[in-house]
């Protein structure tokens, strides 16, 4: 069975460490916040200038001046700090974020990522995604392994406009956990009940398959 969105988030959460400063993109990455292991503390950064994102506000706490990078109302945790956009991206660009999790349309064996633009579709813009992928050492991409039409999103070369080059080393898809190194994908884990063959058939980029591919446990 392919992983649910929540399971993808749970798998990503295993890469967290106590004391990590983490930037979570919109979508599945946001769900990682709910999966932080007990007894472990992480601090979430929002690129609009909040270090220490708290839960959504109660009705009475709602404050138009307190939003996250998804433009949603939010609160701050104890010990949070609020800075300008340039100071916020100094944290990101300077490599001070311990883990960045974001979605993508495509990744390839060179660690390239395409995540912000599909020619012919509504123009939205890259927001902070290009800064995040260029600034972080430790990035996890979450995505479905293939499109609804069965087209692989793990390629030898991205076909869409790139968000960044050579910056992705880890992908958690709904089918597998894959690492990227030496110009290849390396299959590390498979979703429960998903066969290696299934993963291979949906991975268009060169994939190295070890003799044993452990099944994720949830």
């Amino acid at each position: 069975m392919a992983l649910t969105r929540e399971q993808i988030a749970m798998r990503v959460a295993r890469e967290l460490q106590d004391g990590f400063y983490v930037n979570l993109g919109i979508g599945i990455p946001t769900l990682v916040a709910n999966c932080v292991p007990k007894g472990m503390d992480v601090m979430l950064q929002s690129e609009n200038g909040l270090l220490g994102i708290g839960p959504y506000p109660t009705e009475v706490q709602v404050d138009a001046d307190m939003i996250n990078a998804g433009k949603a109302t939010v609160t701050a945790v104890k010990g949070a700090s609020i800075v300008s956009s340039s100071d916020s991206f100094a944290m990101i660009r300077g490599g001070h974020i311990d883990l960045t999790v974001l979605g993508a349309f495509e990744v390839d064996v060179l660690g390239n990522i395409a995540s912000y633009m599909i020619p012919g579709r509504m123009v939205k813009g890259m927001g902070g995604a290009m800064d995040l992928v260029a600034g972080a050492d430790n990035i996890i991409v979450t995505m479905t392994h293939a499109s609804k039409h069965g087209e692989s999103k793990l390629l030898n070369r991205c076909t869409l406009p790139l968000t960044g080059v050579g910056c992705i080393k880890k992908v958690v898809s709904d089918l597998a956990y894959v690492e990227i190194a030496d110009g290849k994908f390396w299959l590390k884990e498979r979703a429960p009940g998903v066969s290696v063959d299934q993963i291979v058939s949906l991975t268009k980029g060169e994939l190295v398959v070890p003799d044993v591919v452990p099944e994720m446990q949830f």
């Binding site: 929002s46 690129e47 609009n48 200038g49 909040l50 839960p55 959504y56 506000p57 109660t58 009705e59 706490q61 709602v62 404050d63 138009a64 001046d65 307190m66 939003i67 996250n68 998804g70 433009k71 949603a72 109302t73 939010v74 701050a76 609020i82 800075v83 300008s84 956009s85 340039s86 916020s88 991206f89 990101i92 660009r93 390239n112 633009m117 509504m122 123009v123 939205k124 813009g125 890259m126 927001g127 902070g128 995604a129 290009m130 800064d131 260029a134 600034g135 406009p161 790139l162 968000t163 960044g164 080059v165 050579g166």
Partner: protein, 233 residues
């Protein structure tokens, strides 16, 4: 200190001198911390052919979207415009020129403009459309692109409190792009929720020193929320 009193009495005076074809840098992120009334004043004036530098472009009926609706904008420099449908129409028809700029690069370009740094290298955008045609520099075996500073004829920002000398304090995440925008305008106009007397703001808490602010006005704000998410309890 009469010479330092930045307070003007009306919005018309606040935006005096704005002319067709000028560049305006605006603070704000989404609809948070945007200079609502200064934008409305630009709409009222009907100034055209503007280049607007702002992380976002408002929504169709609020914020900078109003200027798009009235076709006052020639070019937008933004990182994300996904909340604005008018935008796409005008872009596809060729009416509107768009320079998509990564968010952190945009913030840094404004800061650089205010700080007299004409250009800086960043890894952001290297190897992407953003990097096309830009000089590449190699430092410690990594590739970077050269990004140039942005300055504007006007900068418009929104703060929480300002003293008469133009010292500004922003509230919570309504800070965002405002401090950098404030430094990068030839004429910087601030609208604030509350004007206080000099000395009332702690010198260590001031986000934007008055040296950057040419005009200041007190306004009332709608503060529209884009994504109102709440939790129970």
């Amino acid at each position: 200190m009469a010479g330092f009193d930045k307070v003007v009495s009306c919005y018309e005076e606040a935006m005096q001198g704005l002319e067709d074809g000028m560049t305006v840098i605006a603070g704000g992120f989404g609809l948070c911390g945007i200079p609502e009334n200064l934008i409305t004043e630009i709409q009222r004036r009907g100034t055209r052919e503007l280049t607007i530098v702002s992380n976002n472009c408002g929504v169709d009926d609020f914020g900078l979207g109003l200027l798009l609706k009235d076709r006052q904008v020639k070019k937008m420099v933004s990182s994300y415009v996904g909340e604005n449908r008018v935008f796409e129409k005008q872009m596809l028809s060729g009416e509107l020129e768009v320079e998509l700029t990564p968010q952190g690069t945009l913030a840094e370009k404004m800061r650089a403009g205010g700080a007299g740094i004409p250009a800086f290298y960043t890894a952001t955008g290297y190897g992407t459309k953003v990097g096309e045609g830009k000089p590449v520099g190699v430092f410690n075996d990594r590739n970077y692109i050269l990004e140039e500073a942005i300055t504007g004829d006007f900068a418009i920002v929104k703060a929480w409190k300002g003293d008469r000398y133009g010292n500004l304090i922003y509230r919570h995440t309504a800070q965002n792009f405002n401090p950098m925008a404030a430094t990068a305008g030839r004429i910087t106009v601030a609208e604030v929720e509350e004007i206080v007397e000099p000395g009332e703001l702690n010198p260590a808490h001031i986000h934007t020193p008055g040296i950057y602010v040419d005009r200041m006005i007190q306004g009332t704000f709608e503060k529209r929320i884009e994504q109102r998410l709440v939790r129970e309890i």
